[in-house]
């Protein structure tokens, strides 16, 4: 059974109760009409007992009030289930995302995931809070009414239904091009949305180049495109659709003449005629609601499938292992190949590596050579397509996940205070440990300047931290985790000199006594490591210390030379003497 169905099962009772109450409320909706019938039976009886009439009036009032009690209770139950279900679904989805293989995230953009977790789950409120009870009652009211009418006079009952087939024929006619028209409609809307989005995303550039007007032309065309398509839609669908709606509500057209004839012929009595006029008029109208509801319901089934698809994904395999903390570990890589997807081909092929405990290793190579991917594989964040990555712990091989900490290019801060952001790395950390980590990451001075110290909210909503400060928060997290193996992917990009220095110092501190793998563009900063691994197009071209590679590896030598000359680069030379500014 799917995970979704399992969640739903817990709410079974409440949802069924809600539907039952909704059906009861729907049945009570018939009370006023039946009250009129009851009054007619009393009045037209051979010996009228008119003193019953006030009781009938009271009964109607009571039943009408009862209907709202049922209806209200049904709505409370269905909403309680719907909101709880939404919470549970989101919780489950969040839990699931944490255990899915990294490859899953290569297939889907954060936007797709957001759509499932936020938008799809949002829309399910309608399904469980409204569609379930309303579908139940929408079907029951006409069915009950029809049943009663058939029981009283089957001929007139059938006559009152006679327009339904005509009406449905009109509906079928409306729907003949529905899919095609709807596709056109959605395309028009999507087009407008895309063009508007493109305008604002690029507005600064478009303005700078004076090209706003041409994008505005597209915006205007696409927005009027929606309007024009709405006209087409209206022209093509409105007549048949209007007919369909009107016929569903117009059975008086057949009931009244037939009723008059039958009454005149004496084959129905006055109460029956009154009943059919009171109850039969518009008896088929709820079918309309039923059909639109059903459309929405089906649309949400697609959403449920999307959500279920995530919930039912198999989790990544994970061998038991946690950071042992003490002592450094070696790493072994054997015949490793990796591809993000089959179409694009492998990013890494046949990589063999051995890293001794405590060694400092740098991965270097041109853009797209596979450095960052290899770093992620070494950290266990990705799984090899083929081959093996393992830690060597006293001669035993084990899974890297959990024992390797990865500090990436992006410095990610999350909602919450600085303390929250640090505790993420080790929830049980003491005050002293937090302080030590902040010190080690060179953040102590920054904390002093924050208005609430550690309890200052940071991230997009909170106090602004510069790129270098944010990067050092991620370093502080790495200190707190204190993993025996440390992977650093390009942590020192362009920062102002003071920030750069603090970051460099904390990197040096973090690397002490650990096995370290660095991804680096600036060769100069890693020329002193034990082993440089030169990658090109997913293969290891050569490895060894700086001096050796400079001698024997042409790719490395070229990279080194290009970088030396790039470092000597100057932006222009003085071209003119400045006037003294006023």
């Amino acid at each position: 059974m799917g995970a979704f169905a399992e969640l739903l099962r817990a709410h079974r009772l409440r949802l069924v109760a809600s539907a039952v109450l909704a059906v009861a409320a729907a049945a009570l909706e018939l009370a006023p009409a039946l009250g009129i019938y009851a009054a007619a039976l009393v009045v037209f009886a051979p010996t009228p007992e008119l003193d019953r009439l006030p009781w009938i009036a009271l009964a109607i009032l009571g039943l009408v009030l009862l209907r709202y009690v049922f209806f209200g209770t049904s709505m409370i139950l269905s909403h309680a289930s719907a909101f709880a279900l939404q919470r549970e679904l989101r919780t489950e989805l969040a839990r699931k995302l944490a255990v899915l293989p990294a490859g899953f995230f290569d297939q889907r953009s954060p936007g797709d995931l957001k759509k499932a977790v936020v938008d799809d789950v949002d829309a399910l409120e309608a399904t469980f809070a409204h569609h379930v009870p309303e579908l139940a009652s929408g079907a029951v009211t006409p069915l009950l009414a029809l049943g009663f009418l058939l029981f009283v006079d089957w001929r007139l009952a059938l006559v009152s239904l006679s327009l339904v087939p005509v009406s449905f024929a009109a509906f079928a006619f409306t729907m003949r091009n529905f899919d095609e028209l709807m596709a056109g409609w959605h395309a028009a809307e999507r087009r407008a949305n895309e063009v508007v989005q493109e305008l604002f995303r690029g507005i600064v550039v478009l303005k700078a180049f004076g090209r706003e007007a041409s994008q505005m032309k597209q915006v205007r065309e696409s927005v009027f495109g929606i309007r024009d398509f709405a006209d087409t839609l209206n022209r093509r669908m409105a007549p048949a659709y209007t007919l369909f709606m009107m016929l569903l509500g117009s059975n008086l057209l057949v009931v009244l003449p037939t009723g008059v004839i039958l009454h005149g012929g004496g084959s129905i009595d006055s109460p029956t005629l009154i009943l059919f006029l009171a109850l039969g008029y518009g008896i088929t109208a709820p079918l309309l609601k039923l059909m639109t509801l059903f459309g929405d319901f089906q649309m949400n089934m697609v959403r449920i499938q999307r959500v279920s698809a995530i919930l039912d994904q198999p989790p990544r395999s994970r061998e038991s292992s946690t950071a042992s903390g003490a002592g450094s570990l070696g790493i072994i890589v054997e015949d490793l190949s990796f591809a993000y997807d089959e179409e694009r081909g492998p990013v890494l092929r046949g990589v063999d590596l051995e890293i001794q405990p405590g060694q400092k290793v740098a991965l270097v190579g041109p853009s797209g050579s596979g450095k960052s991917t290899l770093a992620q594989l070494l950290a266990g964040a990705r799984r090899p397509t083929q081959g093996l990555v393992a830690l060597l712990d006293a001669g035993r091989r084990r899974d890297p996940l959990g024992s390797v900490s990865l500090v990436g290019q992006r410095a990610e801060l999350f909602f919450g205070t600085l303390r929250d952001n640090l505790l993420m790395a080790r929830p049980e950390a003491t005050e002293d440990e937090l302080r030590a980590a902040l010190d080690a990451a060179g953040l102590s001075a920054v904390v002093e300047h924050l208005p609430l110290g550690w309890d200052t909210p940071i991230g997009e909503r909170g106090a602004h931290l510069s790129g270098g400060e944010a990067q050092r928060v991620t370093m502080a997290r790495a200190f707190l985790r204190d993993c025996p193996v440390q992977v650093l992917d390009e942590v020192t990009s362009h920062l102002d000199p003071d920030n750069e220095r603090l970051l460099q110092q904390s990197v040096s501190r973090l690397c002490q006594g650990k096995t370290v793998i660095l991804v680096a563009h600036r060769l100069r900063s890693v020329m002193g490591v034990d082993q440089l691994v030169v990658l090109d197009e997913g293969r290891v071209v050569d490895r060894g210390p700086h001096g050796l590679l400079l001698d024997r590896c042409p790719l490395y030598r070229r990279m080194w030379e290009v970088q030396q000359s790039a470092e000597g680069w100057r932006l222009g030379t003085r071209r003119r003497e400045l006037r003294v500014s006023p």
Binding site: Y68, M75, H79, S214, E460, D496, E500, P582
Partner: protein, 573 residues
């Protein structure tokens, strides 16, 4: 009356009213058969025979049906065309308005929320407005007509049936007030949960690396519980008010029925009239109570409309008219101050950027150097002081003029889903294929472009997703080359590109600088040793200025930056 925001379209449309007229006529004709039915019923009960022949009866009913059908079709077409047109125009006017805001407002967050109002929320608003004008407003005619029929049938009973209606109508604003308050709270809590969820989804891979996902989920779950509680409140609070409406309407029917029954027993009311009135009163209650279903919709439209109106109220950047001669531009700033979101980022900055000079802006992050660069191209307007071109305040020039004088190359390159050639041609739309290729060659972009599947005709993915950072930057340099503006504002940083990329970008920038006034936001000080002047910013003020040789000896902020950076360069892991 319900505000649908038609005033925002910038024009009136008479079709709105003719459309409504036809739709109402249609609704009235739909009500006539009910009148006929009670008339026939009364005659049958009193005299035992119908007041007209069956054929005539069928013809009348059929005529009503056909008439209502025709009116509804005509009304519907007029309403649809008019409302879709007006709402479309509103959307365009809003876009026109928003694009005149200072460009600096378009940061990521702002972009997301505004685009969502202009796209998804606007679609929903369109749907509600177009449908409620034609259907809801016209359908109000139906209970009104039935109510009139009711009063004519028997004014005392009619009055009883109508008695609770004013009360019921009062329940609508009451329910709105309750909903709004509760819904605002629930909405805010939900937004907080959505923010957390989106951040979780975006950052899931980092969270996993940190093994911090569990702690983060605990926060999400706590927030989700709050949301559940608030949503339930928002749903429950207004429920009594909404139910009261329909309950009061049906109470009216019961009053009418009870009083009728009483008068019947007293012999003050004919049997036939009693049933006729009861029937009409029942349909009155039914049609009226159906209107309540549209209330939630109307409320939603009103909320979206509030957001739309708020966007219309944001002040736009004013534009001057003065022309500017083509040719060299003397750019200067005088006593410039600027604050963003209540935080002062620049204060009392004076500087001149002589024609053909190279100026470097340096300083720690947060010093205001990027903000100064942004003000030069009028991404924002200054709070005090002025930016001048050839002595004229940029606010007195047209935006077009100012922007045609400044070319920019920033880290964050925006590319469009068009061909490579189109993306480069953004700089000069009338450029020939040869011009484009020449610019690409000069920008060191030609070689990688030729390796793309269709060369210059390759259509880029969303925001050029398949290109590397260095390639994107070289495309933006080609663009700036074609634009050929006299002033160049440049962000020097080339983060995370490999040495090859970096040397290509450097060559391209060198070519681009040729013959222009250059203002560079510099990060690596050794690259700007040759600058004509260096402005050192700290805390939003210019703390030092001069050429490199002078500053490096001055013993101030620049010397500190320089020495630190030189030491950093020697750092080894």
């Amino acid at each position: 009356m319900m505000d649908l925001g038609f005033d925002l379209a910038g024009r009136r449309d008479p079709r709105l009213f003719t459309g409504l007229l036809f739709a109402s006529l249609g609704a009235i004709l739909e009500a006539v058969p009910l009148g006929v039915a009670v008339w026939v019923l009364e005659a049958l009960l009193v005299r035992g025979e119908p007041p007209l022949s069956t054929i005539a009866l069928v013809l009348i009913l059929l005529a009503c049906l056909v008439g209502a059908f025709i009116f509804k079709i005509i009304g519907g077409r007029l309403n649809f065309s008019a409302t879709y047109d007006l709402v479309g125009r509103t959307r365009l006017r809003l876009i026109e308005h928003l694009r005149k805001l200072p460009m600096g407002v378009w940061n990521q967050r702002r972009l997301g929320s505004t685009v969502s109002v202009l796209t998804d929320e606007f679609s929903l608003y369109t749907e509600i407005v177009t449908h409620s004008w034609g259907l809801v407003v016209a359908n109000i005619a139906l209970p009104v007509v039935i109510g009139i029929v009711l009063m004519f049938s028997d004014w005392r009973l009619g009055a009883l049936a109508l008695l609770p209606v004013p009360l019921a109508l009062l329940a609508i604003p009451w329910s709105f007030r309750l909903v709004n308050r509760a819904a605002d709270r629930a909405f805010a809590e939900k937004q907080a949960a959505v923010d957390l969820l989106v951040e979780y989804v975006r950052g899931i891979e980092s969270l996993r690396d940190l093994e911090a996902d569990r702690g983060y989920r605990a926060r999400i779950e706590a927030q989700l519980h709050t949301v559940e509680r608030e949503m339930m409140r928002a749903e429950l609070l207004p429920a009594p008010a909404i139910m009261t409406f329909s309950m009061l309407v049906f109470t009216g029917f019961t009053l009418c029925f009870g009083a009728g029954a009483y008068w019947l027993v007293q012999g003050e009311l004919e049997v036939a009239r009693f049933f006729a009135v009861a029937m009409v009163a029942l349909h009155f209650a039914r049609t009226l109570s159906q209107l309540v279903l549209y209330l939630a919709m109307a409320r939603h439209a009103a909320r979206t409309l509030e957001r739309i109106r708020a966007l219309f109220d944001e002040p736009v950047q004013s534009e001057g008219k003065d022309p500017l001669q083509s040719g060299p531009i003397e750019l200067e700033v005088h006593d410039l101050s600027f604050a963003y979101e209540d935080e002062t980022t620049l204060q009392g900055v004076d500087a001149a950027f002589p024609v053909g000079s190279l100026t470097a802006l340096v300083g720690p992050s947060g010093s205001g150097k990027s903000t100064l660069a942004h003000l030069l191209m009028r991404l924002w307007d200054v709070d005090a002081g002025r930016v001048t071109m050839n002595g004229l305040d940029v606010r007195d020039l047209t935006l077009q003029t100012v922007q045609s004088k400044v070319a920019t190359v920033f880290q964050d390159v925006v590319l469009f889903q068009e061909t490579v050639a189109e993306n480069i041609k953004l700089g000069r739309p009338e450029a020939s294929a040869r011009d484009v290729e020449e610019a690409a060659r000069t920008a060191r972009a030609h070689d990688f472009i030729m390796e793309l599947p269709q060369g210059y005709d390759t259509v880029l993915g969303p925001n050029g997703a398949s290109l590397s950072g260095g390639q994107r930057q070289r495309l933006s340099i080609a663009r700036a080359l074609l634009k050929n503006a006299p002033i160049l504002v440049l962000d020097e940083a080339t983060a995370s590109v490999d040495p090859y990329e970096e040397s290509l970008i450097q060559e391209a920038i060198g070519a681009l600088m040729e013959g222009r006034t250059v203002i560079v936001v510099a990060h690596r000080l050794w690259t700007i040793q040759g600058a004509d002047q260096i402005l050192v910013l700290d805390g939003g003020r210019v703390v030092e200025r001069g050429p490199h040789e002078a500053l490096v000896e001055a013993g101030g902020a620049y010397q500190h930056l320089w020495e630190t950076q030189m030491e950093n360069r020697q750092w080894r892991v």
